[in-house]
């Protein structure tokens, strides 16, 4: 290899010392590894514990971190003894209903609110803002009574309905539609397109990022929700996965931690897959400033 080629490669591939002084780098990486252990450690430990056989201790003085003899036995047991499929199915139904309704109705409402030429949009806006002022926990008693009056106690529809379409998503979509340049719309109008065509072929594709944010946020909040399903659902057959998991813990199954760990791993997988596929939209969802703790 000629020296010129080596030089070129050097220029393209940054060397370690380009990143800073060695001592500073070492400190940075040590800190990164420490935080890695603290954040991912507990979840990783959960995964490892779920792979242990019955002969191995999950915790206590004799427990090791790595399973000696990895086995999927705990996964088989959890599926055999607990209606995990039914839990997953119920969670997926709620997720599918929520994502669909949120998506359809936040785009339609967001679109109309981004258009100036109709009377009453201010009133609509005020109602939407007002609905965001009340934390869910401060209206859940009355929400439950409404759901009861609708005859939806212990039904998945009752879990879904209050999250039918959220004002925050309408606002997100409105913002995305407002960002579409007026000139493009004018040009499309001159071409004789109908408003529906412009909505479908101009506005929706332009707002792709915001749509993904709505989908991801709705998916995660519906999949992870706990308090509201806990209030609405009563029978085992209707329980969502988070409810089922929390019950695993308090029931006699709780003694086999491997099984509960397996259940937890199962519940994390769909969100993790979604995260890997849609990573960059995930971060945008955070920047959109939704309330989260």
């Amino acid at each position: 290899m000629s020296t010129a080629a080596v030089d070129k490669r050097r220029r393209l591939m940054p060397r370690w010392r380009d990143y800073g002084r060695p001592r500073e780098l070492l400190v940075r990486y040590l800190l990164l590894l420490l935080v890695l252990g603290l954040t991912v450690g507990p979840l990783l430990w959960q995964l490892l514990a779920s792979l242990k056989g019955t002969s191995e201790d999950v915790f206590g003085a004799n427990a090791t971190l790595l399973p000696h003899d990895p086995t999927l036995r705990a996964y088989r047991t959890v599926f055999d003894q607990v209606p995990v499929w039914s839990y997953i199915q119920n969670s997926l139904i709620v997720v599918a209903l929520s994502v669909t309704s949120q998506l359809v109705f936040s785009t339609t409402a967001g679109y109309m609110l981004s258009k100036p030429a109709w009377k009453g949009r201010r009133a609509v806006w005020v109602v939407l803002i007002a609905s965001m002022m009340f934390p869910f926990e401060s209206i859940m008693v009355s929400l439950f009574i409404s759901i009861r009056d609708l005859g939806l106690v212990d039904s998945l529809a009752g879990v879904w309905l209050p999250g039918f379409v959220g004002a925050i998503n309408v606002m997100l979509m409105r913002g995305a539609f407002l960002a579409v340049p007026r000139e493009i719309e004018d040009a499309a109008m001159l071409d004789g397109t109908s408003e529906w065509q412009r909505f479908r072929y101009l506005y929706l594709p332009s707002a792709w990022g915001a749509i993904m944010v709505v989908v991801i946020n709705t998916f995660i909040s519906a999949w992870d929700d706990f308090l509201w399903p806990l209030i609405v659902l009563r029978s085992e057959a209707n329980m969502t996965l988070t409810l089922g998991l929390s019950r695993l813990q308090s029931s006699s199954f709780g003694y086999d931690q491997r099984m509960v760990m397996a259940g937890s791993v199962i519940s994390v997988v769909p969100v993790l897959v979604l995260f890997v596929i849609t990573q960059r939209w995930f971060y945008r969802g955070v920047a959109s400033g939704a309330v989260k703790i």
Partner: protein, 341 residues
């Protein structure tokens, strides 16, 4: 508006008969109805679409408005109304009891305990949640080899539901759990620390759980804000010999002040909403004798229990929770304004 529009369907049919942009074969009745419900072409003054069918925007916004009214505004008004009654969560006769629920609330030790827990939660969690993710964001801001992996990894706790995270922590903190075992092996403690049976330790553990789960979320939030802090300032300060700590407090912190105020407000409101962490670590009773219950937990206990619940009393506590949230929001707004001026 003419009378034909009072019935949307007949009005729509009348209006679709006006000439469209392109001549097409006479549509079926169903298609005509479907088309009537979609916005049509009608460029108005200065490019804004004028709607031939006045009710169209209403139709398109109706689901959102209905949802906001039925599951947002109405439940709140109803909560206020209910708080003056003795309604039962599962139905039955309810009667007006005046201010009884509120006087009962003011004398209820458990209510004050829950309020104290909620406020304590905010007081401890908010400053940490404002600072720790910022420090983490500074740590992962620099583009080093493998930094993308670390950023994603730090985000994973956000993805796990509170229930899963709670389960995991339950076993980390159990008497024979990982934390106690390691501390005993390191001879730092003689007997297990009762993380999950002492009411104070349960509350602190739950706060730790909230922080741990929120770190990644607010780290990403801060990463966006950090992009706006000029790099030149850091370089100049470094030239002048300012260390990392001084640069953090004198350049980074002032640079992301607005973001910090926002994070403070969001986490403050979030702290008042804590439920699952307490449920998972303090069991379904909310700690020994309910000592760790937060306001949402207490609302669920007193207002929604199928047998002993009193929706009227639960509503009164809900109004208190709302007032607390509102007070916090106003306080945060005021602080932000003062900070800006």
């Amino acid at each position: 508006m003419t009378a034909q529009i009072t019935n949307p369907v007949s009005g729509a049919e009348a209006l679709t008969s006006t000439p469209g942009p392109a001549p097409s074969p006479p549509p079926s009745r169903l298609r005509r109805l479907a088309r009537a419900a979609l916005p049509g072409p009608a460029p108005g003054a200065n490019g804004a679409a004028m709607y031939r069918r006045w009710w169209l925007p209403w139709l398109w916004t109706a689901p959102a408005v209905v949802c906001a009214v039925v599951f947002g505004v109405f439940p709140f008004l109803n909560t206020v109304l209910l708080s003056f009654t003795n309604a039962k969560p599962l139905g039955g006769a309810a009667s007006f009891v005046g201010l009884d629920n509120y006087t009962r609330m003011l004398q209820d030790d458990d209510f004050w305990l829950a309020t104290r827990n909620s406020i304590l939660y905010a007081v401890i969690v908010v400053p940490l949640m404002v600072l720790l993710p910022l420090m983490l964001a500074v740590l992962v801001e620099k583009n080093l080899p493998g930094i993308g992996f670390f950023r994603s990894a730090f985000y994973t706790p956000v993805l796990a539901s509170s229930v899963v995270v709670g389960l995991s922590w339950q076993w980390l903190l159990a008497d024979d759990g990982l934390v106690n075992t390691w501390l005993e092996k390191a001879h730092l403690i003689k007997s297990a620390i009762p993380f999950l049976s002492d009411s104070w330790l349960i509350l602190l553990s739950a706060m730790g759980l909230t922080l741990w789960k929120g770190l990644g979320w607010y780290m990403v939030f801060y990463l966006a804000a950090l992009g706006n802090v000029p790099k030149e300032l850091h370089e100049a300060a470094q030239m002048d010999g300012a260390g990392a700590v001084r640069r953090f407090f004198h350049i980074t912190v002032p640079g992301v002040r607005t973001a910090m105020m926002l994070v403070g407000t969001l986490t403050g409101i979030g702290s008042l909403r804590v439920f699952t962490e307490i449920y998972m670590l303090g069991s379904s009773t909310g700690g020994p004798g309910g000592a760790d219950r937060t306001l949402p937990f207490y609302i669920r206990d007193v207002g929604l229990d199928p047998i002993t619940g009193n929706a009227g009393y639960g509503s009164a506590v809900s109004v208190a929770l709302f007032a607390l949230t509102l007070g916090l929001t106003l306080l945060a707004q005021r602080l932000t304004k003062e900070d800006e001026s």
